[in-house]
């Protein structure tokens, strides 16, 4: 066993973790990843790279993770089960581990009908929970889904996502329990805007003792404009943006929109930090990565463990 990656180290040492998302470009330019990485350097413990998010084709997460790794980051490889069968998923886990990419985030992925290739065939050979279990067995039992033995086991830190705002609400913590039971050790949630609901979800999570089995990072997204607030509220599946926040964004003059978005975001960070069992935040500044240092600094989190 080699030493754990930075994210695992921060989380297991009890530090309050900060991760951020980096959306790869719709093109083959590595400089764009380096530019986004440049904004985040020194402010985060790990960087997630999305996997063809909203089913729109982007540079591969694996390649982008490697570029970030070369910059000194601890990348989080997001992997959806939408586009790859168990054969390809396992092969990519082995490949990622060989490249020194340690963090794997397992998710279902948005249905292709949302993206730029709605005529594509989806895969969904296994679901995200089965994927977590498969990754865990590869690492801990040294075997593939078929039972075949692996020569060198992948040293990986396995994470999952959970959406506290999806329905049915009362099974949302139970579903997380399944993911943690399957082997997830860190959790990044959907963007938190409805803090009351998130607080209730965290209560259910604590009732099941899940916060002691896995590190839970609350998803944070700064809004750029009232338009973005409305769009997320109405058009992004599983997103819960309360009306009062949409109104608040709309109540300030245009030049103040971004500042208001950041202010909401800072208040949210403060409130989720106070919730028992929240081990960190995951900032998803969609096509606005340059704002991350500002948020981290103003939240008083710039000294990274």
């Amino acid at each position: 066993m080699t030493a754990p990656g930075n994210l695992e180290r921060v989380l297991t040492s009890g530090g309050f973790a900060v991760t951020a998302e980096c959306g790869p470009p719709r093109g083959a330019d590595p400089e764009l990843i380096r530019k986004k990485g440049g904004y985040l350097k020194g402010f985060v413990d790990a960087v997630n790279v999305t996997d063809n998010q909203t089913a729109v084709v982007r540079m591969s997460s694996m390649a982008s993770c490697l570029i970030l790794k070369e910059m000194g980051f601890d990348p989080v490889l997001q992997m959806t089960v939408r586009d790859r069968s168990r054969i390809a998923l396992q092969s990519d886990i082995l490949g990622a581990a060989a490249l020194g990419i340690r963090n794997i985030l397992c998710l279902s992925g948005d249905h292709q009908s949302f993206g730029d290739h709605p005529g594509a065939k989806n895969v969904y050979d296994i679901d995200s929970i089965q994927f977590i279990d498969m990754a865990r067995a590869m690492r801990d039992e040294g075997r593939l889904s078929s039972g075949a033995e692996i020569t060198v086991r992948p040293e990986i830190f396995i994470g999952c996502v959970e959406n506290p705002f999806a329905d049915p609400f009362d099974i949302r913590a139970l579903r997380l329990a399944k993911k943690i039971g399957a082997g997830a050790r860190f959790v990044q949630t959907q963007c938190v805007f409805n803090v009351e609901k998130f607080t209730r979800w965290m209560e259910m999570v604590r009732d099941l003792g899940l916060h002691e089995k896995a590190h839970i990072l609350a998803g944070i997204t700064p809004m750029k404009s009232p338009g973005m607030a409305r769009y997320m509220k109405n058009s992004v599946p599983g997103m819960d943006v309360p009306d009062h926040l949409v109104e608040r964004m709309a109540s300030v003059p245009k030049e103040g929109h971004r500042e208001e978005g950041v202010a909401i975001c800072l208040e949210t960070i403060e409130r989720v930090r106070a919730i028992e069992g929240v081990a960190g935040i995951h900032i998803m500044a969609i096509e606005w990565e340059e704002i991350v240092p500002d948020i981290v600094r103003r939240a008083g989190l710039e000294t990274r463990p």
């Binding site: 939408r82 168990r86 279902s108 948005d110 249905h111 009908s113 949302f114 989806n122 969904y124 050979d125 296994i126 679901d127 995200s128 929970i129 089965q130 279990d133 498969m134 889904s145 996502v161 959970e162 959406n163 705002f165 999806a166 329905d167 049915p168 099974i171 139970l174 579903r175 329990a177 399944k178 039971g181 399957a182 959907q190 599946p237 599983g238």
Partner: protein, 222 residues
């Protein structure tokens, strides 16, 4: 039943462009029930085709026939003997019927007049919905009688995903979330404790992924 839609009229006209005499064949089973390819639809389509071609000054002769079952050689074999002089057979049965005619009536063009959609049920008069994908290893006993393979847009076996909201699938378009339905059913029957079990990856080889499937009952063969 198998549910199908008629192909757009222009597409059908394009397929028979060069024909002067065709046989239009319907089927008395599923496609009759879903009002896509029964005797009534055969008569309607035949007259539409005749009128259109007549108006274009290139009349076409369209004979009509509706078989008891187009997916059964018992009914398709006799058809093969009556095809002298036709330029093509236009079938408005499901894809199985079209193919059996093609296999039986060699040397003749066989054209599909329908788009075969799914295996489903009648939800209301004039409304059909998909229920089964014939995966070959039914799990309905574990999912409250609701099929996650078919009715969950991601065929998730441990659902629901994070897109489920207000009972609807993330696809919206009035699609109920299969997993919301499953959980409601498990709750109602006092089986929610089952929800904690992780459903293992499926063996899709019993499904279409294992290649074209065939069923043989040796005891029934003659």
């Amino acid at each position: 039943m198998i549910v199908a839609d008629r192909k757009p009229f222009d597409e059908i006209m394009g397929m028979i462009e060069s024909c002067e005499r065709i046989l239009l064949v319907g089927c008395n089973e599923c496609v009759t029930v879903c009002a896509a390819g029964g005797a009534k639809e055969v008569a309607l389509l035949a007259s539409q085709i005749r009128m259109k071609r007549k108006a274009e000054g290139r009349p076409v002769e369209v004979d009509e026939k509706t078989l008891e079952r187009q997916c059964d050689p018992e009914y398709v074999n006799p058809l093969a003997e009556t095809l002298e002089g036709y330029d093509a057979v236009l079938s408005i049965a499901c894809g199985c019927g079209v193919q059996l005619i093609a296999e039986t009536c060699r040397g003749l063009r066989v054209l599909p007049g329908l788009n075969t959609r799914f295996m489903g049920v009648t939800e209301e008069h004039g409304m059909w919905a998909e229920r089964c994908q014939g995966c070959g290893d039914c799990v309905l006993d574990r999912t409250g009688g609701i099929c996650p393979v078919t009715r969950c847009a991601k065929s998730i076996m441990n659902g629901p995903c994070g897109g489920s909201q207000n009972g609807e699938c993330e696809l919206r378009q009035d699609t109920p979330c299969a997993w919301q339905l499953i959980i409601d059913r498990l709750k109602a029957s006092g089986e929610l404790s089952r929800y904690g079990e992780i459903a293992k990856p499926r063996d899709w080889s019993t499904s279409r992924d294992g290649g074209p499937r065939k069923r043989i009952r040796e005891d029934m063969r003659i």
